[in-house]
Amino acid sequence: MKRHIFLARCAAALPLLFFLSTPINAHEAWLLSPAEIEALSQAPVPELFRSPVWLGLAATVGFALTLAALGLEPVLGRLEDRAIQPIWKRYGDVGPLVLRLGLAAMTLLAAFGGLPRHGTEAWTVSTFLVPDMQLTDVSGASILIGAQAMLAVFLIAGLATRACGVILIALSLAGPVIFGPSFWSYTPHFAAPGLILVALGAGRLSCDHVLNTDIGAYTAAPLRQILWRMSHILIGAGFVYLGFAYKLMQPTLLIAILERGDMPTFGIQMPVIALIMTGVEILCGALLIMGRLVRPVALAILGAITFLAITLGETPLFHANLYGALLVVLLAGRTVPIAHRVPGIQWARAV
């Protein structure tokens, strides 16, 4: 099979991930049973996460591996360019399509309660972007439900896509105002896909392209690059924060959830696995913020969240925003081509 056909099929098959996992579960605290919660309440923080010596050693190993990877960046870059060459001209079509459909699925299901918090019956309680944020007793809930549903319709159609990106950014910023500071852990990973949509538009498979209504198609290249970099920074910052606040500082919760999912340990102790996961998340986030090793990092995170989704039996729909955003990042890399709809594309290397 020719490589470009294989790669194109891989990209086309990515949405199938959404249907691979049967139960609607998330790796969230709410799925733990009373017995597991009681055990968790008494679980001591592993020595690995309390000892400056062990953490220092782990940080040194992580630092050394990151340095090695950074040293190989030019070699990896050439490999990436070669591997992605057959399909990169279509990144502006395939990437935004997957991102749009993923975001549309999330917002539509959230609007009608199809992605409920664990323990809540499906289609009974509307949520705001993510299962944890229930729209019960929220003033203006009907407006938010309507906004999410309309956003989904426009995203599916690929109509006014750049405006949809702006609305998604606005919704992600409204979250902390409506639900409090806890929403800040979600904001970067919804604002970033919004920025990507603003920067790239809907792509060829959209009403915007057919009707020629993409008013931002010829946005100044520097502005597009700025939006693109900002999206990377937001995705990375989100991972650094989540790794720090939820994994490094609450390791027993991560371990309980991994144990519940019967994740294969390959003989490695669970605290070590939890620390590796934490380190990978934080380092990948930091590299994205700095715009280094962008494609390998995107691939690593995509692989990690896919592995977790399958082993923990959760629906990838909970992370459709990240799947879409990281796929576009994987395809396009650190910089986006100038005016991707114009023939004779030139890469704008910002390095």
Partner: protein, 153 residues
């Protein structure tokens, strides 16, 4: 050659080293306090009288049961918030055989129909943000056991 390598790395190593160093210092300080993860648990101050809950079940027929939650030092409310204060106010999560089946915002709630056989009912008191309450180092919970007859009464 070393200079080429260092130029290739740029400022990234300094930034990553600074970040990792900060985490290595901060994490042991925070984790040294121990305690349950704050995402799941709401720890009540020791000066507050610890809430308790006892569970009683009455058969309603057809495999359905009415649970009476006898609580002390706890107030039920149907108002949920995202970040609750450490106070004995909230609701209860009802679990049957380890699976959550309902949230009780009042001290009386009906559950079922349950399948014939023995069932273990767990009631866990939760704060207004759904976090499990911990009072004086222990979760606030009650249990009861039901045996549903083959021919439900």
């Amino acid at each position: 050659m070393l200079r080429v390598f260092l130029n290739r790395l740029g400022l990234a190593p300094c930034v990553i080293a600074l970040m990792l160093g900060t985490l290595v210092i901060a994490a042991p300080i925070v984790n040294a306090k121990g305690g349950p993860p704050r995402t799941v648990f709401l720890v009540l101050p020791d000066i507050i009288a610890p809430p308790t809950v006892q569970v009683r079940a009455d058969a309603l027929g057809g495999g359905r049961y009415r649970l009476y939650l006898d609580t002390r030092n706890f107030a039920f409310t149907d108002i949920c918030v995202l970040e609750a204060e450490a106070a004995p106010i909230g609701h209860a999560h009802i679990h049957v055989d380890g699976a959550k089946v309902a949230s009780a915002f009042f001290p009386v709630i009906d559950i079922g129909p349950l399948d014939p056989g023995a069932h273990h009912i767990d009631v866990v008191l939760r704060g207004q943000d759904h976090r499990a309450l911990i009072a004086q180092g222990a979760m606030v919970q009650g249990h009861t056991r039901l045996v549903v007859p083959d021919r439900p009464i």
